[in-house]
Symmetry: D2
Subunit: 118 residues, 4 copies
């Protein structure tokens, strides 16, 4: 079994889901990128008035809703990557490599000043 | 080998990355949710002035940048799920189930009117 | 009457609103910036599955909801600018000047290639 | 002089700016809503790793950049409202009224639990 099975399965389920509903017509990369952004904001909304510290200890009901939003983001991400022909896992591993070179541990340790990923 | 290996590997690499830089202190769920939202917008920016049709045929250089943004979104998603103790794959599969019940193929086929996932 | 009256009035109403509810404690610039971003996504959500062309002809009910989201964005923008001591109108006029220099009409006419505002 | 002069002026300047560059073709409400969301995220990015408390005391250079992002958000907001034929000030004042009824001061004072604006 390859390492991408969990995401490959999701990708297949999403293809069937859209196909059964004839929804692929709405799934241009542009629209999917919008949907992804909207879901990310719905996720963020759960944290907008709580402190950073309280965000570590969300009540169960709140965490369940956050869980659903995390799922929504992943689903649109997988669908968008599929429509663009992008290998998500490979891209992610490449990006960690790039970030490691951009932010050498010795230089940036403990500092948020350089904490960006571009 | 479990099906979650690719994501589990990413999760471990991200733990080491943050640990080596003493950056876990900045990784409250609140901050990670913000970062995720910011990356989703950077991804979306590549599509803001192109047509839906053109978004299906991005030039190679543009697609390479989009690839990086997709990676950034996945990395923050994996990191946030980790900090919250959420199983991303399980949550995603549950959500597809929920969506299938909310949007029965027979009822919504071809229509964007009901096309939301909440 | 100065030219900033409409926004100044909004600023005052928002100060009273927050004060009457003892909500200023939640109005750090960070939290307000998050709220603004969340509202912008709620606005965007109304457009995610419609075509650009259909977005010019929204049904009355949809337009009424979009109207409310536009209002939400403006309210958080005014509140955030107030908490940061920023003159929104002056900043906006300065930005148009800057954009005019960055994108001289003669050079960019008709092209979306250079259409960004940074 | 009406109270909307500052925003009316911005609206007129933005019409001329787009017209001189033949950019109105890209300014569908859908595209403008995307651009607005992208700018809101660029604004938010300045706050992603700082504490709420530090966000009240931004260094001058950082505040200058935040100022530009606030301007970008306002410009797209004014442009989008214009393309949709929406009176921003009227909508904003109506929304404050609505919020005052949804969140009576006596009931919600000091609590973030009900702090949402929908």
């Amino acid at each position: 079994m390859t390492q991408a099975d969990a995401l490959t399965e999701l990708r297949e389920r999403l293809r069937e889901f859209a196909s059964a509903r004839d929804w692929a017509q709405f799934h241009s990369p542009k629209n999917l990128a919008i949907a992804l952004s909207v879901e990310a904001a719905e996720l963020l909304e759960h944290f907008q008035w709580v402190t950073e510290e309280a965000s570590q200890r969300l009540p169960a009901a709140e965490l369940a809703q956050v869980c659903e939003e995390l799922a929504d983001v992943l689903l649109y991400l997988v669908r968008l990557a599929d429509r663009l022909g992008v290998d998500l896992i490979a891209a992610a591993n490449d990006k960690i490599e790039l970030n490691a070179r951009k932010y050498p541990a010795g230089e940036v340790r403990g500092s948020s000043r350089k904490y960006t990923d571009r």
